[in-house]
């Protein structure tokens, strides 16, 4: 029983990590339809931001807290730069976007290698987050995982609220549902696109900060994450946040259960098979957004 609950928590926390890395992509890929292969490198940028801040601010707790907004802005700014320089010119050509952003991701990886060196680096976690909370029955809940869960939760809530009630959110939804009509109604679609991309990329930066609590930071960390992120968004359904949230946790629990019953590699295979089977049944993903756009 103890093990089961522990495993459930592990699954949920894997789900929280998946959610964090996919959330930004749900916005840029899900809402805008941009296939951004450099999304993983924005996560890396967030992680390295944490590392750099820790060199300056040695108190691990403070540097982590400060890293959250800073990484959001750093990764967001990189996203906006990418949007202005390249993606903006390729909105009608998704396949070219894929190639170009993949090239950008390679460039960013090399840049990280040149700046920080090839060996991976680590951050010190604040002492508070290295411990755990003991529950009755010998169950322990790791503080760093709890922190990531809370972070993922708040990011989802903040994003949902922003999309539902803020003027910017309304504009984003308008552009997603019908770009031409939104433009005719006086919405500056290019500016909305830029803001959407800023937020989506910024969320990748936040995910990067969270990942420093779990493992090392390296130039290629993004490539390992981008596949998972796309899987979550595709299975969840384009244009909907709730699909992303549900699928992230479902895949996390599936991964943890599979891993517990078999081995890590077999579990990965199980997850992939489940995804393929699911997409055969529902190629459009878990939820779909009904829009009036012709694209």
């Amino acid at each position: 029983m103890t093990v089961l609950i522990g495993q459930l928590f592990t699954g949920v926390s894997i789900g929280a990590v998946l959610l964090l890395i996919a959330l930004g992509l749900a916005l840029t890929f899900g809402q805008m339809g941009v296939i951004n292969m450099a999304h993983g490198e924005f996560i890396m940028a967030g992680a390295y931001t944490t590392y750099v801040l820790q060199q300056v601010i040695t108190a691990a707790g403070w540097s982590l807290l400060i890293a959250l907004p800073v990484a959001f802005v750093v990764a967001g700014a990189m996203g906006v730069l990418l949007e202005i320089l390249l993606i903006r010119r390729l909105y009608a050509r998704p396949l070219d976007t894929l190639l170009v952003t993949w090239g950008v991701s390679l460039i960013l990886q090399q840049l990280a290698r040149d700046i920080f060196g090839s060996p991976n680096v680590q951050t010190r976690a604040p002492e508070l987050l290295t411990g755990n909370i003991g529950l009755p029955g010998g169950i322990t809940v790791a503080n760093n995982r709890l922190f990531i869960l809370a972070l993922a939760g708040s990011a989802v809530v903040a994003l949902t609220v922003a999309l539902r009630v803020t003027p910017l959110g309304r504009r984003i939804r308008a552009v997603v549902q019908n770009r031409d009509l939104a433009a005719v109604s006086g919405i500056a679609t290019t500016r909305v696109d830029r803001m959407t991309f800023f937020i989506g990329s910024g969320l990748a930066g936040i995910a990067g900060v969270a990942l420093t609590l779990l493992g090392p930071i390296g130039p290629t960390m993004g490539t390992n994450l981008i596949i998972d992120a796309f899987l979550v968004v595709v299975v969840g359904g384009i244009g909907q946040l709730k699909g992303t949230v549900i699928v992230a946790f479902a895949l996390g629990v599936l991964q943890a259960t599979g891993e517990y019953l078999t081995t890590l590699s077999v579990a990965k295979v199980m997850v992939f098979i489940a995804i393929v089977a699911f997409l055969q049944w529902r190629p459009q993903g878990l939820f779909t957004l009904r829009t009036r756009s012709l694209a």
Partner: protein, 414 residues
């Protein structure tokens, strides 16, 4: 306007892809000519040697330090007059933590640079990838890292420990401490899998129980489930054969789960001083490691090595077992070449038996028959300062036995 710019970018990407494809084809053609042996080029006043280590990727955390200590040995030897009156000229290549890249670079070092010997490789997967290259070209590799044994290539000298010099003594130590059950955690490739086969055979013969066995892909950073399994198994100790920076994620998770060196000690065979530093002492204090050398190992030879290393690379840089084995390997090669009086690979091999060197870890002797070296086994504990202090040693150098022929319980392994 946008269309034209888009095309240009696409054209650029296509050129890149085409270039990469061409490069891949180019490397394939060299595999075709399998002439037996390429003599090293020793016509000038220098002799080239190859250095083959991962300077990027998941293994770089460990392999960069090996490269540094090989360079230190080469500099020292050059300052003292070189080998057979020739200065050593190092040619470095990056294996990039990718096994086919290792094979490709090995081929390049042997055939294009015509080096007299190559020093390097860390993971057994990379060694297995380059082994056929060295055998085909009849060239020499000095491999400086502890490994899973069960191998004896005529063209490789193994200067790290084989299993009976590290893993078996480590298990003996755990047994003497009263451990009766183990949990095995390792990276998913040849070394951990073979090592764990040996550990299971040992456990069976010595009345120890193996409660579980789990593997994570190299570079994996998700250890929530494995830690849960380890914890619920209630094993007396964990035998850890994870490599590279998966260790970072594993020990972070281990501590988060409330497991400590006191409640369930972990014996690691791939974590040395350098890794301790980068994983963080806060996660490792009190945990055990099995090696043949620690920075704290007493002796004049080690004091000199540590001082020289710190002088060259910085006072905060620790020295470790694989670094020491790599440093020693260059001196052993020098001694072999001088005994043979030539750089010729076959003559160097013949001359190797019985060569001794007063190494930082103590006296080491080359065993010509197995091309391994006799070395002292040690178990140490990670201290708060990040250094490892010895808690046990084998007293004298252990003769290498890569196939564990002298251990009855290992009969079914090879």
């Amino acid at each position: 306007m946008t269309l034209i710019r888009g095309r240009r970018i696409l054209a650029g990407a296509m050129t890149l892809v085409a270039a990469a494809a061409l490069a891949a084809c180019g490397s394939k053609t060299t595999d075709g000519n399998t002439a037996a042996g390429v003599a090293a080029d020793v016509s000038g006043d220098t002799v080239k040697v190859g250095l083959l280590n991962s300077l990027s990727g998941t293994m770089a955390i460990s392999e960069v330090t090996v490269r540094d200590s090989i360079m230190l040995a080469i500099e020292e030897i050059n300052a003292a007059g070189g080998v057979l009156d020739k200065k050593i000229e190092p040619v470095g290549e990056d294996g990039a933590s990718d096994w086919p890249t290792f094979a490709e670079k090995a081929e390049k070092l042997i055939r294009e640079d015509r080096v007299a010997a190559v020093f390097g490789c860390w993971t057994s997967a990379s060694r297995k990838a380059v082994k056929p290259v060295f055998e085909k070209n009849k060239a020499l590799l000095f491999y400086p890292v502890q490994y899973e044994g069960l191998e004896q290539s005529p063209y490789i000298f193994y200067t790290g420990a084989t299993t009976n010099q590290q893993i078996v003594p480590g298990l003996d130590y755990l047994k003497a401490q009263g451990a009766t059950s183990l949990y095995l955690v390792g990276s998913d490739y040849v070394f951990p899998r073979t090592a764990n086969k040996i550990i299971k055979a040992y456990a069976e013969a010595n009345g120890m129980k193996v409660l579980g066995e789990d593997y994570a892909p190299l570079g994996s950073t998700e250890f929530g489930t494995i830690t849960n399994k380890v914890k619920s198994s209630g094993a007396d100790a964990v035998f850890n054969t994870l490599n590279g920076d998966s260790n970072v994620a594993f020990f972070k998770e281990y501590k988060s789960a409330g497991l400590t060196a006191a409640s369930m000690p972990v014996v690691s065979v791939s974590i040395a001083e350098e890794e301790v530093k980068s994983i963080g002492t806060q996660y490792l204090e009190g945990q055990l490691t099995a090696w043949n050398y620690y920075q704290t190992t007493p002796g004049a030879a080690n004091e000199k090595f540590v001082a020289a290393y710190k002088a060259k690379y910085g006072a905060d840089k620790p020295t470790s077992d694989p670094m020491e084995a790599a440093y020693v390997s260059v001196y052993l090669w020098k001694a072999m070449v001088e005994k043979a009086g030539t750089f010729d690979v076959e003559k160097v091999r013949e001359a190797s038996d019985g060569i001794t060197f007063e190494a930082p870890e103590g006296l080491v002797t080359v065993d010509g028959a197995t091309q391994h070296i006799a070395k002292t086994a040690r178990v140490g504990k990670v201290g708060a300062d990040g250094l490892i202090t010895e808690v046990w040693n084998s007293g004298q150098p252990i003769t290498p036995d890569p196939y564990l022929k002298s251990y009855p319980w290992a009969g079914g392994l090879s």
